[in-house]
């Protein structure tokens, strides 16, 4: 497919054009993304950035003007901007791709664990130990019960009671859940 045919097919939103675009320019798009994504961690977001780039191309193909440059250089610019915006973070991404503002999006740095110590502050010692094992370490209630020498039913009871305590504390002070979002 020539560039003219490809652009015309993309403008008509033909699925075959998407396949042709990936066929003809998939490697080029990845090269552009990786040129700007330095480091192993950031390259973990390659697929997401590529998908966003294809979405932009799909949505904004009408903006391509053949008089101003080749299709390849237009693609390069779109992908470069997507990658740089992604790296810049949430604000850039929302603005450029009209991402729903309510959705979480990848940040520049590796996500850190929530502040569990603050969240678990309202709990007593036993509840805190159970919450740590269940929510942070990902253990099963049966395993927790064995480890703490209590009944599995007590583990479930503590999980329900403890979450209510956290909610009550959050209602009082309103700052417990902030560490999570």
């Amino acid at each position: 497919m020539t560039d003219e045919e490809l652009v015309a097919a993309l403008a008509q939103h033909q699925e075959a054009a998407l396949s042709a675009l990936i066929d003809q320019y998939g490697d080029f798009i990845r090269q552009v993304v990786w040129h700007y994504l330095q480091g192993e961690y950031l390259r973990g977001y390659t697929l997401d950035i590529e998908n966003r780039s294809y979405y932009q191309i799909w949505q904004k193909i009408d903006l391509y003007d053949a008089d101003k440059g080749t299709f390849k250089s237009w693609l390069g610019t779109v992908v470069k901007n997507q990658t740089l915006d992604y790296i810049k973070g949430l604000a850039g991404i929302k603005q450029d791709v009209a991402m729903p503002t309510t959705l979480n999006t990848a940040a520049e740095e590796e996500p850190t664990e929530p502040d569990w110590a603050t969240l678990f502050r309202p709990l007593n010692d036993q509840e805190r130990a159970i919450f740590q094992l269940y929510f942070v370490d990902g253990q099963f209630p049966a395993e927790i019960a064995k480890q703490l020498h209590i009944k599995p039913a007590t583990v479930y009871k503590n999980l329900s009671r403890g979450r209510l305590k956290i909610q009550k504390e959050a209602l009082k002070h309103g700052n417990l859940y902030q560490s999570l979002y």
Binding site: I22, Y55, P111, P141, R163, Y177
Partner: protein, 252 residues
């Protein structure tokens, strides 16, 4: 981890902000391209779907995260075989079937700060009114029980490999019953939501099915049904066999 042919989990996880490095080095160039085509098509579909979901939200409602479920990773009880059949209504859905070779398998649970929105992707694509809404204030208890399963190991069959999964079950006050098996990743996300979404704080976590009334406990309870099938039925057959044997021996 999602299987090679279905990019649904991968795409939804990218919406959740999880890193998703391409690890297709074991695939040929042609296969890598085919996989990418499916992934991109799925991404475009999901963007459209999330735009529709945005329309469903209340002004003060926000999406916290998304929980993807597939036939390959979760249960197929209501979305595989005959139950998985589907007749597309729109061109977009026909294209989805063509691109993804998938019918009712892909499901999505959207956690907001007020409720869970659940739908089967293909149905929602056809008709954005085809979804279930479970408000947290109508949820009193959730069964989230961890389970382990073992399979023969790759090295030696006697060395078992263990996999964990979760059994999820709840009924809302307006009598909607939801039963599903969650993968380990799904389960961890659900657990975290139970802890971190303030409106879910009152929801009790249990390891057994909870129903507001006895009728639902008997007739809408897969746990009880399986117990009857796998324990009750063999015991009943055993008793009948014993009775006939005794009858034959003593001429009753």
């Amino acid at each position: 981890m999602a299987i090679f042919t279905n990019p649904f989990i991968e795409v939804v996880n990218s919406f959740n902000g999880l890193p998703n490095k391409p690890i297709n080095s074991h695939l040929s160039t042609e296969m890598q391209k085919r996989k990418q085509q499916r992934t991109v098509a799925m991404y475009l579909t999901m963007r459209h779907i999330l735009d529709e979901v945005q329309q469903l939200l209340q002004p003060d409602e926000k999406i916290i995260n998304l929980l993807p479920m597939t036939n390959e990773e979760n249960s197929q009880m209501a979305t595989g075989g005959i139950m998985g059949m589907y007749a597309p209504q729109t061109e977009e859905t026909k294209q989805y079937i063509h691109d993804q070779t998938s019918l009712r398998g892909n499901r999505l649970m959207v956690f907001t700060n007020q409720r869970i929105i659940f739908f089967i992707v293909i149905e929602f694509l056809d008709n954005p009114k085809q979804y279930f809404s479970y408000n947290y204030d109508q949820l009193q208890a959730v069964k989230l029980a961890e389970r382990k399963i073992s399979v023969p190991g790759n090295e030696h069959f006697w060395q078992r490999e263990y996999f964990t999964y979760y059994s999820l079950d709840f009924e809302t006050d307006d009598k909607h019953v939801f039963t599903e098996f969650l993968t380990n990743e799904n389960g961890l996300l659900f657990k975290r939501n139970l802890l971190t979404i303030p409106a879910m704080a009152h929801v009790q976590i249990t390891d057994r099915v909870v129903r507001p009334n006895k009728f639902d406990y008997i007739f809408s309870n897969t746990d009880l049904a399986s117990k009857i099938l796998f324990v009750g039925l063999p015991v009943f057959i055993g008793i009948m066999f014993l009775m006939s044997l005794l009858g034959a021996l003593f001429n009753w």
